[in-house]
Structure formats: C-alpha cells, structure tokens
Amino acid sequence: MDLIRFYLRKLVTILKNEVLVLPSRVIVVLFFLFVLLLPVFSKDPYLLRIFTLTCIFAIFASSWDLLSGFTGQMNFGHALFFGVGAYCAALINLHAHIPPWGSIPLGALGAVLAGLIIGIPCLRLRGTYLALTTLAFPIILMGIVFALPDLTGGENGISGIERIVRSRVANYYIVAVIMLGLCTVMWKITDSNTGIIFHAIREDEVAVRASGINTTRYKLLAFCLSGFFAGVAGGLYAHFMRIAGPSTLEVSMSFTVVIWCIFGGIVTIYGPVGAVFVLFPLLEFLRFWQEVRMLMFACVVLLILLYMPDGLFPWLRDKIEKECPRCKIRNVATRKTCRICTAPLD
C-alpha cells in the first residue's frame, strides 16, 4: 500500500515539475490520452477506421523522419519499405499461414533487408543524386510486381489476408498502442548517442568521419532502422486493409510521406506524427467535397510552407516556448525569467 502511495506521489511530482511546466509536454500527454481514449467516446466504425489508418501512417511518416530528417539521407522512395513490408507480411500470412503477430515482424525484417540492399549502393551518393536515385527503387519493384502476376496478384494485389483481430475497437487499440510504442522508441533512438551521431552526419559528414566515427555503418544502420519501422507500418496496413496492392509502392505514396514530414517539421519525430494526425483525417473529412479534395490539400500545404518553411509544429513550439539564453532550457513563453537558472528571458 505504501509502495503504491509512493509511486503515486512520485508520479504527481513528475507531472507537476516536469510535464506541467512546459506546454509542449502537456500537449504530448494530452495526445497520448486522446489516442488511447478515442474509442471510449465514439465507436463509430468509420471514425475508428480513419484513426487506425492515421496511426499506421504516423509510424510510416516518423520512420521517414528518422532516416531522412535525422541522417539527411533524402529518401524519395520510402514507399519501398512500406510496400515490401506489406507484400512480405501478406505472402507469409497467405502461404506459410503464420498469424499476424508473426507475419508483421517478418515483413518488417524483409523491409530491413530491402533497406540494406538499397542502402549499399546509396552510400556513395548524396544530396539530390540520392533523392532521385531512391525514387527509382519502388518503381523497379512495382514493375516486377506487375510482371509476376501469379505470385503478387499483379494489379489487384494479394487479397484474403487474415485480420489482426475481429473487433474494430481491439484493432484500433492494437495499432494505436504499437504506434505510440514505436514512436516513443524512435524518439528515444534520436535522443540517444546513435541519434546524436545521425544528427551530426546530417550537419557535416566529413567532420563526423574525422572524429573517428564509421559513418558508413551509421548510415546503413539508419536505413535498416527506418526500413524496420516502415515495414511494421506496411505489415499493419496489409493486415488491416486485408489487401497488399501495388498502391503501397506508388510514387504518390513516397511523395505523400515526404509532404507529411516536411509539413509537420523534420528532425523532430513528433512533427510527422502530428502532421499525419492533422492532415490524414482532414483529407478524409473533406471526402464529401470529392472533386476539390486533393486541390485543397495541395493549397493548404503550399500556404503553410509559405509562412512556416520549417514546418508547422516547430513553428508552434517556438511561439509557445522560449529557450533560456544561458542554460538552453526551454520555458513557457509567458515567463520573464528562466525556471532553472533565473536568467532573464528576452
């Protein structure tokens, strides 16, 4: 009993001293609560379906950020990982009869392999060359998918895949919990030593190599990690939609993920997740306006970029928080002095 009370008090202290002092942390906590409590308020199957897909794409978008945002390896063919994950999971599920809890990780391993295969030739390229080359890989794979209709189902894709669980709410909870877990893991990775090296590679690769770090290995690691997370997203997608079609490999898929990330703000992980949670439902709810839906989407993206070229969420964060000039700790924008070192904020 005392132990429980001790932990409760500890939780309250953490909430008071670490979370409530910064609006961005409050927003993250509210976001977690929102994602976890959504089915309590509405069991509408359409809404749940949209938010399940949103969660899947949130994993996908933040995995792009892990590779391209942090390491600076502009990947324009991220749909490759998604598609490989989806197709592998579907084939394994259909032919080896392995249930979803086994086929999704195996599909993700397939995507890791794809990451290795495209990572090795791409190591020598940089910048625009890399961006344009990576664009080619999903298209090559798509050609192969179309050329082998017996194995891959050609244009119709592979259908008849097992559902994750029967009920929609359980489906939503599984996907949402996986999303929250994986995004936290990605956030932790980018906060760790490895993440700092990733970030350094983006800023100045030569300097990183000069400090005795094997940048090749770290870049390959970034490709594999990103491939893994995107592969999980692809496998979840295949099992949720119960179809793995060529649409998962399309160029527009690769472009959409880049749009989400840059809209939300790259090098943040939370940016892409937030962007997907803003843009994807928005696009779905504009469905009654079928003809101008994509046009509105494009216009919103163009306008946001004009006023906040660093992305929506970093811009918002800068509005509500200030960095202390002395100790570099973030404070609420309304404070006059830093909450740690009491230096005056300008």
């Binding site: 625009t128 060359y129 080619a136 090559i140 050609g143 880049v258 993206v301």
Partner: protein, 289 residues
C-alpha cells in the same frame, strides 16, 4: 521491328532530353529541384487540346499560345511559391510537389479524368522497309533537335547564357561579378518551363492526355538527369537517348515489356551510378556547407 525500336527510342529519347535539359538548367542556376517540371508539360498539352478542340483555333497557334501561357504560369508560380522559400531545400521539394498536384487536380476539374487526344498536325506517312513512319513523328523529332540546338546557342554564345552558366558554377561569385542572381534564376525558370511547355506541345499529337500523364515522364526525366550527371547538358542529351532506347527495346522485345520498361531503364541508371556515382558526365558542384 528494328526500325520500330529506332523510331520509338529516338522520339522518347528526344522528349526526355528536352525535359531533362529544362530540369537541369533550373537546378544548376537556382538549385531548385523542380518536381513540378513535367506538370507544366501536362498543362501545356491540355492548353493545346483546349485551343484546338474547344475553341477551334489551328493547333499551331494553340501551341504558341500554350507555350507563352505556361511560361507565364511558371514564372508566376516561381515568384509566388518557390522564391520566398528558396533557402529551405526540403520546403522547395514539397512546394513543387504540391504545385504539381494542384495542377493535376485543376486539370481533372476542368477536363475530367478521361483520356483525350488531338489529331496530328500533318496527316499521312511514308514507309521504309514496310514500317510506317508518320510525318508527325518525324516532325516531333526534328523540332526537338532544333530547339536543343537553339538552346545550345543561347547557353553557349550569348551573354544571358554566360550569366546562367556562371551562376550555376558559383552563385556567390556570380553575384559579386555583377550578375543579378535572382533575376537570372527567374529567367532560367522561364526558359525551363518554356522548354517543358514546348515538349508538351510537340508530344501532344502522339500521346493521349490524362491528368496523371506527368508522373512517368517525371521519373524518367529524373533518371536521365542522374544518369547523365546533374548540371551537364551533354549528359542529359546522351542519358536521355540511352534510356529512351532502353525503354523501346524492352517494350518491343520482352513479352510483359510495357510493365517493365520503367524498371529496366531505372536499373540501368542504378548500375551506372554504382560505377560512377556522379553520373556519366557529372560536374561536381562546389560543396555548399
């Protein structure tokens, strides 16, 4: 068969060459990766369709009008959407994709998503070795070569061309030498979009129009640019014909070729890049830190 392959390769090669050169000069002069480049090509094709089929103007005048209009459109969208965010590389990429999507949707709204076509300018054909060669195909090829020659003269022999080339080599030094860098960027954008519009104009009698027609050329164009080496006109020219012929060969020789044409062309690009990471005739740009 052989002649079919040659004709197909020459035509798609010239189209890719024109597109890739336009894409390449704006990348060189302003470091803008303009993913909306082929969207302008699509808009031009639709303009001609509108002029020729709906308004009943002769297609030649439709082409002239389309090129002028689309060039204006390109310069305006550069001024409004790309110029303010040029410093942010990622934002420019997204802005151009969004622009391309916006064009695609506007065209879908106006002309619906159905396949459209317009008749060729000159009817008739002649045959060599039993293979029909339409005059239209011949004309498209000749017009492409002519424009490439004009462009070469413009870039190599005039003061404007000198300004564009020196901006491409080093932006800051060009600025110090008294070249108005932002104006050069705008003029280059105009030329580049104009080239895309011209490509659309000469291709339109040979293909069908639909709002998604910019996707495949965009990918092939990027493959050409990477294969030939960014910023090298000679590379664009040769790379375009290599990929054009590769496509034609695959389509005619392999059974499921139409599906694989993109894959084979892109695999060639990746193989070349494995051996020469800077492309066939790559120019190394100074490292921008």
């Amino acid at each position: 068969m052989v002649l079919d392959i040659i004709i197909g390769g020459l035509i798609s090669g010239s189209v890719y060459a024109l597109l890739a050169i336009g894409f390449s000069i704006i990348f060189g002069a302003a470091r803008i990766v303009n993913l909306a480049h082929t969207a302008f090509y699509m808009v031009a094709a639709y303009c001609i369709y509108f002029a020729a089929q709906k308004m009943g103007i002769h297609p030649i005048w439709g082409m002239v009008a389309a090129i002028v209009l689309v060039t204006l459109l390109g310069v305006i969208s550069y001024k409004l959407f790309i110029n303010p965010i040029r410093e942010h590389e990622g934002a420019v990429l997204i802005a151009t994709i969004a622009l391309a999507m916006a064009f695609q949707e506007i065209m879908t709204l106006i002309f619906t998503g159905t396949y459209l076509s317009i008749p060729s300018l000159i009817k008739g054909y002649f045959s060599i070795l039993g293979v029909k060669i339409f005059y239209q195909q011949l004309m498209t090829f000749c017009a492409a070569l002519l424009v490439m020659a004009v462009l070469w003269v413009l870039l190599m022999k005039t003061r404007l061309g000198l300004a564009i080339r020196s901006t491409a080599q080093d932006r800051e030094v060009a600025n110090l030498m008294g070249i108005n860098e932002s104006r050069v960027a705008m003029i280059t954008m105009g030329i580049s979009v104009g080239l895309a519009a011209f490509t659309g104009a000469i291709v339109v009698p040979l293909t069908v129009l639909d709002p998604h027609m910019w996707m495949h050329p965009l990918i092939m164009m990027m493959a050409v640019v990477v294969l030939g080496g960014l910023g090298s006109l000679k590379g664009c020219f040769i790379g375009a014909y290599i990929l054009g012929f590769a496509e034609a060969l695959v389509v005619f020789l392999i059974p499921a070729g139409a599906f694989l044409k993109g894959s084979v062309a892109l695999s060639i690009m990746i193989l070349v890049l494995l051996m020469r990471p800077e492309g066939l005739f790559g120019v190394t740009f100074e490292e921008e830190r």
